[in-house]
């Protein structure tokens, strides 16, 4: 065992010391590994069970390891969806004293799935598009904070369910750089790399007959560029109108909120003669709905889950006729009277299969389905029971998805 093992970590994790750092990652014993699906990587990556959680360990050059660790920490601080770095472990030597590669340890993102797992199940056609949309949102969010990725791809991304869509998380920041502001060239290059990589990854899935061979891979790649450009322009375009139409300022803010962004700074200028107003968002911040839900209820969930929950909260408010009351009070009651009882009614052993907010989202969908089938307003308690019986029991546990390649996996969705 090496004597000069050097661990850099923000929060010390004593259990890390027990791992066999003197063995090359490729030879780590099966019992300590978690059977998680691996993406395509040019490095050796292993998932390891550590205490109650799962960590990802990647062998990588020393300087790159420290750089990526710092970058991921910065992205975490900036609130961009990305994996959380735990440690860099350096100075590894095997039992003959040979130097072993430095490793970067990150926390496995619970309930996340690599795109290959999502595709290896029988998927509905629009899933591809939803993943691309999620990646477009992530790329815009990264570019908004000044992060140039350098190697955008589906492989370097993890996906989590987010209500009826997906939320994308950055997993690999090796080629990334954080700047005060990105140049148009940096954004264009990232986008082009993303387009080519996505098409390549889809072509690979087609070659492996993992997706329909009819999929137009080039068109899917192009749609990322389209979605990204739409969103970026909506966030940054300058808009001009006559002074009489000042309501359009509020309208612009509302539109950005609707897209999930808050406006931190809006530049408003008028012409010399004072007849035309120009507005341009200068600072935008993602997470409008999730921040609002967090403030109201303390629930920390993803953007579209938050949107769904806030809608339910609004309905509750209308149904209980409390529009005049403080929103915070109503939210507190909704949490304790509606949300928590519904989630608690799920049997404990099934509860962890999905994130609570995702379960609640599906419950709402399910209640709507059974209500319209039975043409009556099915109460929540009843909906929970049939949801558990007819849906959740048949779902795989997605907290840390264990998928032996031969296992038959039921259809997603």
């Amino acid at each position: 065992m090496s004597l000069n093992l050097q661990i850099t970590a923000a929060q010390p994790e004593p259990a890390l010391l027990d791992l066999p750092w003197h063995v090359p990652l490729e030879e780590w014993p099966e019992p300590i590994l978690a059977a998680l699906p691996r993406g395509i990587s040019r490095h050796i990556v292993r998932f390891v069970k550590l205490g109650g959680k799962v960590i990802a360990v990647k062998e990588i050059g020393e300087t790159v390891a420290y750089r990526e660790y710092e970058l991921l920490r910065a992205l975490n601080r900036l609130g961009v969806p990305s994996v959380t770095p735990l440690a860099v472990i350096d100075g590894r030597r095997d039992e003959h004293g040979e130097r072993l590669e430095t490793v970067l340890v990150t926390q496995h993102l619970q309930y996340s799935m690599p795109y290959r797992v999502l595709f290896s199940r029988v998927l509905r056609g629009d899933t591809v598009q939803r993943l691309i949309d999620a990646l477009a949102v992530l790329l815009v969010r990264l570019h908004v904070v000044g992060f140039y990725w350098g190697d955008v791809s589906l492989s370097n991304t993890l996906f989590r369910r987010d209500a009826e869509t997906f939320a994308a998380y950055l997993v690999d920041a090796e080629t990334g750089e954080l700047h005060p502001r990105l140049t148009a060239g940096q954004r264009a290059y990232d986008l082009e790399v993303a387009r080519v990589n996505i098409i390549g990854e889809l072509m690979d899935l087609v070659a492996g007959e993992l997706i329909d061979t009819e999929v137009d891979t080039v068109a899917v790649g192009a749609s990322l560029v389209e979605r990204y450009t739409e969103l970026w322009d909506a966030l940054h375009d300058e808009e001009s109108f006559g002074t009489a139409e000042r309501w359009r300022v509020a309208e612009r803010v509302r539109r950005l909120n609707e897209l999930g962004f808050d406006v931190g700074e809006l530049a408003i200028t008028t012409d010399v003669d004072g007849t035309t107003v120009h507005i341009q968002p200068k600072v935008v911040e993602a997470g409008h709905h999730s921040r609002r839900l967090l403030r109201l209820t303390g629930l920390d969930v993803q953007e579209n889950q938050a949107r769904r929950l806030l809608n339910d909260l609004d309905q509750y408010r209308a149904a209980t006729d409390r529009q005049g009351e403080d929103e915070e009070f109503v939210a507190h009651d909704w949490l304790t009277e509606v949300f928590e009882p519904a989630v608690r009614a799920i049997p404990r052993e099934l509860r962890r299969r999905l994130e609570p907010a995702q379960i609640y989202h599906e419950l709402l969908d399910h209640r709507w389905l059974v209500s319209s089938a039975q043409k009556r307003d099915v109460p929540m308690e009843e909906a929970v029971q049939s949801y558990v019986r007819d849906v959740l029991t048949h779902r795989p546990d997605e907290r840390a998805l264990l998928t032996p390649p031969t296992e038959e996996i039921p259809e997603v969705e």
Partner: protein
């Protein structure tokens, strides 16, 4: 294939005053392998990214061939960033892994196959084209990634510290491979590294940068034999050059009891601002070990001996009676490096006497650090 020209190209980052790259003028010939080298923060990567279109050019122009690309999108510049991504696709054949970007671009099938086969020949991958990447060794996989860039037939290859992620052994191997491959392909290549050994061994020419300013550009031999200033002198060469500043009297630079005779032209060109001083550099191999007390020799106390088999180097310091003489090398302040016969290495703690070999010193202005123009 094409030339590359930086024409007074300047990059100033928002919120900073000093340019990251300051009026860079550099012309790279068609097919040339040019290495940009310098310490961290010197502007080498920024220069490369300006050429790639990732950094804005605030002043000046960048040309590829005769085409001004200053405001052209990265993807329309006909360049390839090599080694950025070499994840291979497991279900696709080696040929498809190399040619997929052409397929995306809508290149006809027959032409893709032809270009892939040509690239595979150069890369020694011909017999693997119809296999899956799984069947390849690590080195072969890396060559497939290289092949991706080659089949696109770009005008220019750009490489930004491509070896920094490899271990020492693989780094040396890949270094030779890249240099050999570039020569066979004859594609203009701009390569960035902080490692001067990499620069010396790979480049047709080297451009040394410091603080955003181009210091010198030339062949590895030029840089080694006639460094343009003190910075380049100290940066290029391993182990580094010994450099010190000494008073000039009686036609010689004087330190302790040692004199290094200076050419008449040098004496005549000492400027008032040099204040009667001269900066001298001498490489470790320009010092001869002589017997104690030999004229113009000075004593060095041996601190470390580095034996490399074919060579040996003494890392030492000046003795007490030389106090006040400022001499330094890449090994550190007040250290001096001497190449010695590997079969007759002195012991640690021993004092050896050395003398600068006649005419092998490099002479720089004490004030500006520039090489004497003689």
């Amino acid at each position: 294939m094409a030339t590359v020209t930086f024409d007074g190209a300047t990059r100033i980052y928002p919120g900073t005053e000093r340019p990251a790259v300051d009026k860079l003028n550099l012309h790279i010939e068609d097919g040339e392998f040019l290495v940009l080298v310098g310490p961290s923060g010197c502007g080498k990567s920024t220069s490369l990214r300006m050429l790639a279109g990732l950094e804005d050019v605030n002043e000046g122009r960048i040309l590829i061939g005769d085409r001004d690309v200053t405001d052209v999108q990265p993807k329309d510049r006909d360049i390839a960033m090599v080694f950025q991504n070499y994840a291979l696709y497991p279900h696709m054949s080696v040929a498809d892994n190399m040619g997929f970007a052409l397929k995306i671009a809508g290149t006809p099938k027959a032409e893709i196959r032809q270009r892939v086969e040509e690239a595979a020949k150069i890369l020694d991958l011909s017999e693997y084209l119809d296999r899956k990447p799984k069947a390849l060794s690590g080195g072969q996989r890396q060559r497939v990634a290289m092949g991706r860039a080659i089949v696109r037939q770009p005008q220019v290859f750009l490489m930004d510290e491509p070896l920094s992620n490899l271990d020492a052994k693989l780094r040396v191997q890949t270094r030779t491979q890249i240099a050999g491959l570039q020569r066979r392909l004859g594609v203009t290549t701009v390569y960035v590294t902080h490692d001067q050994t990499e620069a010396l061994t790979m480049g047709d020419r080297i451009a040394v940068l410091k603080d955003g300013l181009l210091q010198q550009v030339g062949t590895p031999r030029d840089m080694y034999d006639t460094p343009a200033n003190v910075f380049v002198a100290g940066f290029i060469g391993s182990p580094a050059m010994n450099i010190g500043t000494f008073p000039v009297a009686d036609g010689a630079a004087n330190f302790g009891k040692a004199h290094v005779n200076l050419p008449r032209d040098v004496i005549a060109n000492i400027r008032p601002e040099d204040q009667g001083q001269i900066t001298l550099g001498f490489r470790p191999e320009s010092l001869d070990i002589v017997s104690a007390g030999t004229q113009d020799s000075f004593p060095v106390v041996v601190e470390i001996v580095e034996e490399l088999g074919s060579d040996a180097f003494v890392y030492g310091s000046l003795t007490q009676d030389m106090a006040g003489t400022r001499l330094s090398s890449g090994a550190g302040e007040a250290q001096i490096i001497v190449r010695v016969d590997p079969r007759r290495v002195p012991a640690k703690g021993e004092t050896i006497w050395v003398r600068v070999r006649e005419g092998e010193q490099h002479q720089f202005h004490a004030a500006s650090g520039e090489r004497f123009d003689i």
